[in-house]
Point group: C2
Chain length 336, copies 2
């Protein structure tokens, strides 16, 4: 087969090379019918224009990156789905990168793409207390960043978060209204902004209802199912709380496993509520009460904000902070 290029396509269709070339450039001035004809023929002969050569001219990769701590989490995959939807509508590819909650991986990756490999980044950061000064070296006009879910307060970067304090407060109040008096709060990193906000919502709700804030009921867990099994078994056998509020989905799953193992009945002996994006929460035994963050919407809003900054590179980048509302879905695990 002879080489297929702009020249051979132009010859085959009896058009000029410049016309054919323009058919592959967005926003170029060309008759719509002619363009369709060229694209149809190019498709037929399996010709793809050199994406990078043309992007180099436009100085655009037409790609955004979404950086998440982990992929094995419905919350993040739903956010990615929302972001992809908006990116696709605007003609962008979306690449995903997982940091494993490792700040070195975050730094290395974000720095490595900051030279034009992607046009912009949506990012849920690894967390506070880590050196993230590398962000001060990123040219945010050349590669705008939008945070979602977790953010660094000290960098002027726009972000989308949810009302963690308020929804945590409501969930705790719901458990109190169900008659619970010793509510355990499970968290993975107490000192992290999200852990802190959620913990404050929990303690403030206790205080409002004149219940004591007991340090032993605020339990630091880990990302390991094995470790959490031990920690939660210890909690349920020693402190015997009448409710468990899991600030992270996997801690609710661990609580279910421990209750099954110990023969502790949910909700009769222990009520359970969790932050969770699990779409089959109502298929669990018993159906799990969840605080559902609007994950897809977070992804969509974050992508919109990024595209806004990408489209207007000459304007001062927006540093908007948008706070979305989560929804408390009460099911059997926390009732009766």
């Amino acid at each position: 087969m002879s080489k297929v290029d702009i020249k051979s396509i132009a010859k085959a269709l009896n058009l000029s090379k410049s016309t054919v070339s323009r058919a592959f450039q967005s926003n170029s001035d060309i008759n719509a019918n002619t363009r369709s004809r060229i694209l149809a023929y190019a498709n037929e002969v399996n010709y793809r224009p050199n994406h990078y050569a043309s992007n180099l001219r436009e100085q655009k990769s037409k790609t955004i990156a979404v950086v998440v701590p982990e992929l094995e989490n419905n919350y993040f995959t739903q956010i990615i789905k929302g972001a992809e939807q908006i990116a696709k509508e605007a003609g962008y590819h979306t690449l995903v990168y997982a940091t494993d909650d490792n700040v070195c991986k975050e730094r290395e990756f974000v720095t490595s793409i900051s030279n034009g490999k992607v046009d912009g980044v949506l990012m849920s950061v690894v967390g506070e207390g880590h050196d993230h000064s590398y962000l001060f070296n990123i040219d945010l006009v050349k590669m705008p960043i939008v945070f979602f879910d977790r953010l660094y307060d000290d960098v002027a970067i726009p972000g989308i978060t949810t009302d963690d304090y308020q929804s945590s407060f409501e969930a705790t109040e719901h458990l109190i209204q169900e008659g619970c008096k010793s509510i355990a709060f499970l968290v993975i990193d107490k000192d992290h902004s999200i852990g802190k906000e959620r913990c404050m919502g929990y303690t403030d709700a206790l205080k409002k209802h004149q219940l004591p804030v007991r340090e032993e009921l605020i339990v630091n867990c880990s990302n390991s199912y094995t470790e959490n099994f031990v920690i939660i078994t210890d909690l349920l056998t020693t402190d015997k709380p009448d409710a468990v509020f899991a600030s992270v989905e996997r801690l609710a799953f661990s609580t279910y496993y421990v209750c099954n193992h110990l023969g502790v009945s949910i909700p009769d002996q222990v009520k359970v509520v969790a932050f969770s994006s699990l779409q089959i929460a109502e298929l669990l035994s018993p159906p799990l009460s969840t605080i559902v963050q609007p994950a897809e919407q977070i992804g969509r809003e974050a992508a919109r904000l990024l595209l806004k900054n990408l489209k207007n590179p000459n304007l001062t980048p927006s540093t908007d902070q948008i706070v979305l509302k989560s929804e408390l879905k009460i099911r059997k695990s926390s009732q009766g």
Copy 2:
């Protein structure tokens, strides 16, 4: 702050620029202590070498891409996790791209990265019957590809799959041994290789046990929960099968929803088995019997095969086909 570069680091540490430069190159000849000293200082002053400039010299991006049909699926996120683990050990970044089961997105993405943007690709392809001739234009020596899960038979590309026929046969036989006589088989795309293999395992098990293969019990579903709800409701009320074998996880969830809605008891009235990587299958009501594909292992093996081809670019690329075994985990949904 003055600019931090190789020159300023060399000056600060009283070393030559060439020594400092070599500290950032893998495999370069430099005293280990000197390298540590340089890297520690570079870290302190937050200096990162220009990754791409040095990669350009090495002609490597040190990045692999994993292409999956969707991310909202535990099976694929576990595969990615396994692949990332191996890639990371070898010093590679892993980028993830979801095709939404759209062959145009697949083609456009794979073609767009084939000019050195990534070093290699792991890919679960969109499916048969689509024009995937673009793959013949990819230089597989410059950018090796390894298929996993789904593959195109007509391209000489190595792949990792699982024993779908055999595990489907076993699951069907298990249902027959539990006394089921009219077993429905739910599939998303009957004509797709995976659907076909699984369907053949199902029909062959029926035949072995002298049970009729009834066309109305082989049901084509879709990726939409709403549509599947209607389809499965119709199946359970019209044909009244005594078992449902879901060839895809989400079809098992839909079956659970429909049974809850109709008041049909699992497993008393309908037994359920599904291909599923859901890690909390035993927390469902009732616990779901699953055929578990070794997802993380698939990812690890695929990445190993890719790295093998990357490390030996002068050898004829391996075109190995590896078949891994899935495991049938029998739980309450299919017993008694």
